[in-house]
């Protein structure tokens, strides 16, 4: 697989041309194979390439945003309800934006197939034109239909645009519509995210970095909120399980990011699954540190019937557990300390499931999770310092600070206990710091 463009070293065009000439010579002399030559060349890119790429991306971004605003504007204009226009004119108006957007898309596909900005903007306009068309007809004829039905029709008519127009912006807009639907009705509309997955993979294959990362972030955040919202509410059959479902999703995302982008990709923005996974793990593990969190006392609340949504959520829960377990077993040896810190939160999912069978004491969860965050955050901070990675250091610090903040305001622990624990941990920090400094000093004097 070719190296990610962002990770390539930037050199001047002259340097790159020199390298190309030289490597051709090396190949002719039999010093390197063709594959080795291409691999070497793949390590570098010229400054101009980067600038060109950046300018193309900003072009796409601006044009897409422009199209988005125009599309939204058309909908708002039509929503005003021009009731004096009469049915004939309003019917014509409902088709006008649709036909114009289709014409623009066709022009892009037929005459400017290489122009990504044109394709993206045409697709975004078409996306909104479909909505404007249905909305105006519904308005003209007072057609019954709640927002859910409207969004479903809109979604189904525009989903193919993602693939046929190869538009990542439309994919992001559709992700938002799916999330909207899931928040309106607790139905398994989130399964539609699966329909977007092949295009995300295609973007990955095309090395389309900016669009891939935006799409991934929006898609995964949408999926997480939809699933959690669909399972955690009063009278949901899965209400007791919501916290474990969210944590299992977080662990699976974390694993997915490394499985997909490799262990080398440690940047926050460019590895959306792992980054979102770690955010979910951090947040949910903090929730476990409080008393009063509902333990799964029942497999599900039997008074509420299980529907397709619940079965689908249980399926994604199971898939997340299996995937995370497989990832851990297959990558056992290569996992770093920070990987282990994140992935050991998976134990709480398993504790939750076993807790149902053996009716675990809540203390087990509260003590274990407090210890987990305390140890985990300190380990992350050390890792951050040792490996000179600011992200790890800051992540550990934020996690630790939130734990301290939560415990400070925790009314379940008596003040004396809290005071003693705070002083002991504080002293341990200072002692560790002194020990660490001394160690570094010894190391320095030896070398």
């Amino acid at each position: 697989m070719t190296q990610h463009n962002q990770n390539k070293k930037i050199v001047t065009t002259e340097q790159l041309q020199w390298l190309k000439r030289e490597s051709n010579l090396w190949q002719e002399q039999g010093l390197v194979s063709n594959e080795a030559k291409n691999s070497i060349l793949d390590l570098y890119r010229s400054q101009e390439d980067g600038d060109e790429r950046r300018s193309a991306l900003s072009n796409i971004l601006l044009v897409s945003l422009g199209a988005l605003l125009i599309g939204g504007g058309i909908i708002l204009l039509l929503a005003h309800n021009w009731e004096n226009f009469g049915k004939g004119l309003r019917t014509f108006l409902s088709f006008l934006p649709l036909v114009l957007a289709q014409a623009l898309c066709w022009y892009g596909v037929q005459y400017q197939p290489q122009s990504r900005p044109l394709r993206e903007s045409g697709a975004v306009l078409l996306f909104f034109a479909v909505a404007a068309s249905i909305a105006l007809i519904s308005q003209t004829y007072h057609i019954y239909g709640d927002l859910e039905r409207f969004l479903v029709v809109w979604l189904l008519l525009t989903l193919p645009i993602v693939y046929l127009m190869r538009s990542a912006t439309t994919l992001m807009l559709i992700s938002a519509i799916i999330l909207w639907l899931c928040c309106l009705e607790r139905e398994p509309y989130w399964l539609l995210y699966i329909a977007l997955a092949p295009y995300l993979y295609k973007l990955h294959r095309q090395n389309s970095r900016l669009l891939l990362h935006w799409s991934l972030w929006i898609g995964l955040i949408g999926l997480t909120i939809s699933v959690v919202y669909g399972s955690s509410y009063y009278a949901s059959p899965l209400d007791h399980w919501g916290i474990y479902i969210a944590l299992a999703l977080g662990c699976a995302f974390y694993a997915l990011g490394y499985w997909w982008f490799g262990f080398d990709n440690t940047k926050f923005w460019t590895n959306a699954p792992t980054s979102l996974g770690i955010l979910i793990i951090g947040l949910i593990s903090l929730m476990f540190t409080w008393y009063g969190r509902t333990l799964p006392s029942d497999l599900w609340q039997v008074e509420s019937p299980m529907t397709l949504n619940e079965y689908a959520i249980l399926t994604i829960f199971t898939v997340s557990i299996v995937f995370t377990a497989l990832f851990i077993t297959r990558n056992w040896k290569v996992l770093s300390v920070s990987n282990w810190v994140a992935l050991s939160s998976f134990a709480f999912v398993l504790l939750g499931i076993t807790g149902f069978f053996i009716h675990q004491n809540q203390n087990v969860f509260v003590i274990a999770s407090n210890l987990y965050i305390l140890t985990g955050s300190v380990l992350l901070m050390f890792q951050g310092i040792n490996r000179n990675r600011l992200l790890l250091l800051n992540g550990g610090l934020i996690w630790f600070s939130l734990l301290v903040l939560f415990r400070f305001f925790d009314s379940d622990i008596p003040f004396v206990y809290k005071g003693v624990i705070f002083i002991v941990i504080g002293s341990a920090f200072i002692a560790t710091n002194i020990w660490f400094k001394k160690k570094q000093h010894v190391k320095g004097s030896q070398s």
Binding site: H80, L98, V99, P113, V130, S138, I143, Y144, F150, P160
Partner: protein, 184 residues
């Protein structure tokens, strides 16, 4: 590429056909449907895409519709239509099987209730869209007259589908009624 262009054209056709069919269906109901009058009370909400509308709550829906069959909430059923002594529409019965020709009915979504006391239903013509200026005026005009029962809608019914034709107050279409109010 050629293959994908065929699919693009197919998508365009579907995108045009869906709104086209919506118009055709509504026109069919309006031209060939039987017209019923439903007593109503409008209130004024907002839709981000379709603009302002008045939600119509119907007197016909104040009581459950009698039925001999068992329905779950969310089921689709057929509400048989008739006309009361004052000429307004009323639901006589809720059935699961599509009625025979000659009997007007509306396809409705079953709401709460039971076989013993009957079921409430969601009436599928509960929105009257109007402009930003008109919608609040409709609500105001109608609420001022809540003691008078002369607010009704005309609905065209054909093969179980219903389309709202016009909202009337005092025997006048709502826009004419609002104009007369402004003149006064």
């Amino acid at each position: 590429m050629k293959y994908s262009k065929i699919w693009i054209v197919a998508l365009f056709v579907v995108q045009l056909a869906v709104p086209g069919y919506m118009i055709f269906e509504q026109q069919q109901i309006l031209s060939h449907g039987e017209v019923y009058k439903f007593k109503t009370q409008p209130i004024d909400p907002y839709d981000p895409f379709r603009g302002r509308y008045v939600t119509l709550t119907y007197n016909i829906n104040a009581n459950p519709i009698p039925t001999e069959q068992t329905f779950q909430r969310g089921d689709w059923a057929y509400a048989l239509l008739s006309v009361d002594s004052e000429g307004y529409a009323m639901f006589t019965k809720l059935v699961a099987d599509e009625p025979n020709a000659g009997q007007d009915y509306i396809t409705v979504e079953v709401s709460w209730g039971g076989q013993d006391r009957g079921h409430y239903v969601d009436v599928p013509f509960n929105r009257y869209y109007a402009s930003e200026e008109t919608a609040p005026n409709i609500e105001r005009a109608v609420w001022r007259r809540e003691t008078v029962d002369d607010v009704y809608v005309e609905v065209s019914v054909l093969d179980g589908k219903a389309t709202l034709k016009e909202l009337y107050v005092d025997g006048l279409p709502i826009k004419e009624y609002l104009e007369t109010q402004t003149k006064q």
